[in-house]
Symmetry: none
Subunit: 420 residues, 2 copies
């Protein structure tokens, strides 16, 4: 993203709770976003427990490789809180008692009518030469240390203390480092594998400095992330990718597929109904996650048993007996029947084997048929997805929404970006 | 948790997307949980982008300080994926082409009827002397490398590939390191706030070494995590908590509420149907996420428009006109009608304002009515949930499942643990 003259940035999150299965370090996401806003990229992150040796090792390891280090957490009053002490040790700078800081901490307790516990005294010690960053929401002061042309910023861990201190005291000082404002585009693709996308883009080489392209793969969705300082360059790169991937990019503004499909239906004033078997409600759930979906979503039927398929949807019993519930004929009939019953303009249907049990050699786990019905006709696709039950359910809904999107796309509509 | 003779463990997550504000490294939480299960503690975690120099630096610095390194991600087929290459470089071990691995990758594509893109060839190279870990859900093989009495385990980044590989190939090999089995009990609670749970437990003090109690709060669910090396002590602690929380704990073996409800229905040989308005398919989706749910789940209707409520469900139009669609009367009628129509033993219904638009002073966003119908009667609850559209949808389904669970619980059934 940024050329090599630029500062190397590391974020260290300190706290043993961050090394359990239950807590995520979310402060670093906020910090990353704000640094990105200034065109600054984070090079690495590390998470260290409240352990003296691990902390010393980690700081020693980070210093030679980084120009700007943010250490978040471990500034509290307890014996566990060692960040201040560990940096003091590694930087060979003493901890100095600051009377005015002590008074400030004391006043904070007095204001709340509480005596100051003796342990809080250690928060009045600062690393020699450091600038104190005011904490408006807690007792732990932050510190900005400069050492051998490196900047080290110590910030408290509780998110509301961290955020307020960052905005008040760190953000203004970062302006001198800014590289420009970062532009970002996310292109979302479904129906292609990661390696297929990569080979389609193989002759697009990003050699411009400060311009970056990366692929992120999910089950049923590939994303292309473009970032750069020049809006023009990002747009040009986007256009050349769109040119290559044709109708496979459904979103260029970060929208999910259910949102894009929803926008199309609103724009066309069309309605939608669904009849689900193997997706068990997930298709309706995704569609109704979009605020305002009641404008176009009519209704859904989750038909798990064959009896219900026959009764609620009014399917011909012979059809199921002849072809089986997992068949293109049943997918087609489900889509047709729910569309007629609900008087919707479009209908989608799913039937298949979500697994992990219920597969046969002829109809293995992952085999799904998806139907799309509209006034003038129907389309059925046969799909074979790999993965867990939840992944097979998701991929089936993704493909169903994709069928509806492509139906509109190929009838003169364009991608999400133009539908706003 | 563990004494210092123990192996130092580092988890490295590799991927530039993990250094953006948009992605969390969740694989390491899963890995930490499983390591903790064996009494092994994680000493540090690091996150590095898809950048050759940063990756080399990070590996070089981690090696001397760690005995066991897990590197997750960066094993894909693209030019960005450098983990294999970087470890090969630092460890000074060549990359060797493996024909049988190449054939396996090729076969994976053939099975799906796709040609193998040339870029995937690089996934058939392994670090000299490494053991290959089979990937049942993707093309990237894992590698277990031993070097200078250190173990280095390279695993793929996509969570479903990572988890399956870990369980199949890594977990069995970790048994030799185990410090004793950590016993873990997770008590799951719905219908109480975190502070209510805390105050109910305020006189339960855990002072035994190697015994731990922690609360983890999610929207609609509180979990109490108990861990310790002594099965007896963990069980005693569990019993004293159950004693305190009575019928609020729905699960003690890690099951989700939809699983507990499913187990009850299987055990009682009863069936279930749902009629959803504001939850838009999520209730059916959660129920059908459980493998084998086709044994008890009959069908569902997602009735978004009032017309559909009247038609598909056969509701009396006057009822909606008189009380409004969001009313206890409509919730009750929806549950009754779907139960009768589908001939299920039980039925759940939801109607409410999921937001963010559509609220009024009388019927604000977050107001939902939930109906439960059985042969002998009906129950309707009025609820008011705070949060985003998705959180309101989730909390409503949680409460609906909870109503069905409590119905059975108070009719002589006991918690999930005893239903097996």
């Amino acid at each position: 993203m940024i050329d090599s003259k630029e500062k190397k940035i590391e974020i260290m999150a300190v706290g043993s709770e961050l090394l359990t299965p239950y807590f995520q370090d979310t402060n670093s996401l906020y910090l990353t976003q704000r640094l990105n806003d200034l065109g600054m990229k984070v090079n690495s992150k590390s998470i260290i427990g409240d352990n003296w040796n691990d902390l010393l090792y980690s700081i020693q390891k980070s210093l030679p490789h980084s120009d700007l280090i943010f250490a978040i957490g471990g500034l509290g009053p307890t014996q566990d809180d060692l960040t201040r002490e560990a940096f003091s040790w590694v930087l060979k700078k003493d901890l100095i008692f600051k009377k005015e800081l002590y008074r400030k901490i004391e006043q904070r307790f007095q204001k709340r009518g509480l005596p100051m516990p003796p342990v809080n005294k250690k928060q009045a010690y600062i690393i020699q030469g450091a600038e104190v960053l005011n904490n408006q929401n807690g007792t732990a002061p932050g510190l900005w240390v400069q050492s051998d042309s490196k900047d080290i910023v110590l910030l408290p861990g509780p998110p509301h203390e961290f955020k307020a201190m960052f905005e008040q005291s760190v953000w203004p000082r970062l302006q001198e480092y800014k590289q420009g404002y970062l532009r970002r585009k996310i292109l979302k693709i479904t129906g292609l594998t990661e390696s297929r996308v990569e080979s389609l883009l193989s002759d697009i080489h990003v050699r411009t400095p400060n311009l970056n392209l990366s692929l992120v793969a999910y089950p049923g969705q590939i994303e292309i992330h473009l970032t750069g300082f020049s809006q023009k360059k990002v747009e040009e790169l986007k256009d050349s990718i769109l040119n290559r991937l044709q109708d496979n990019v459904f979103s260029t503004e970060g929208e999910e597929l259910e949102e894009i499909v929803g926008n199309l239906l609103v724009q066309k004033e069309k309605s939608l109904a669904v009849a689900e078997s193997c997706t068990g409600g997930l298709l309706a759930h995704r569609i109704t996650n979009i605020s305002g979906s009641s404008r176009y979503f009519m209704d859904g039927v989750v038909a798990y048993s064959n009896e219900v398929k026959k009764e609620l949807l009014g399917l011909n019993p012979e059809l199921i007996d002849k072809h089986g519930a997992v068949s293109p004929q049943v997918a087609e009939a489900m889509a047709k029947r729910i569309r007629e019953k609900s008087e919707a303009d479009f209908a989608l249907s799913t039937t298949g084997i979500a697994g992990p049990t219920g597969g046969t050699p002829q109809k293995p786990v992952g085999l799904t048929y998806i139907g799309l019905s509209w006034k003038g006709g129907t389309q059925v696709t046969r799909n074979y997805f790999l993965g867990t039950r939840e992944i097979i359910k998701f991929q089936t809904t993704q493909k169903a929404l994709d069928m509806l999107w492509r139906y509109h796309y190929h009838r003169g509509n364009s991608r999400g970006k133009d539908t706003k």
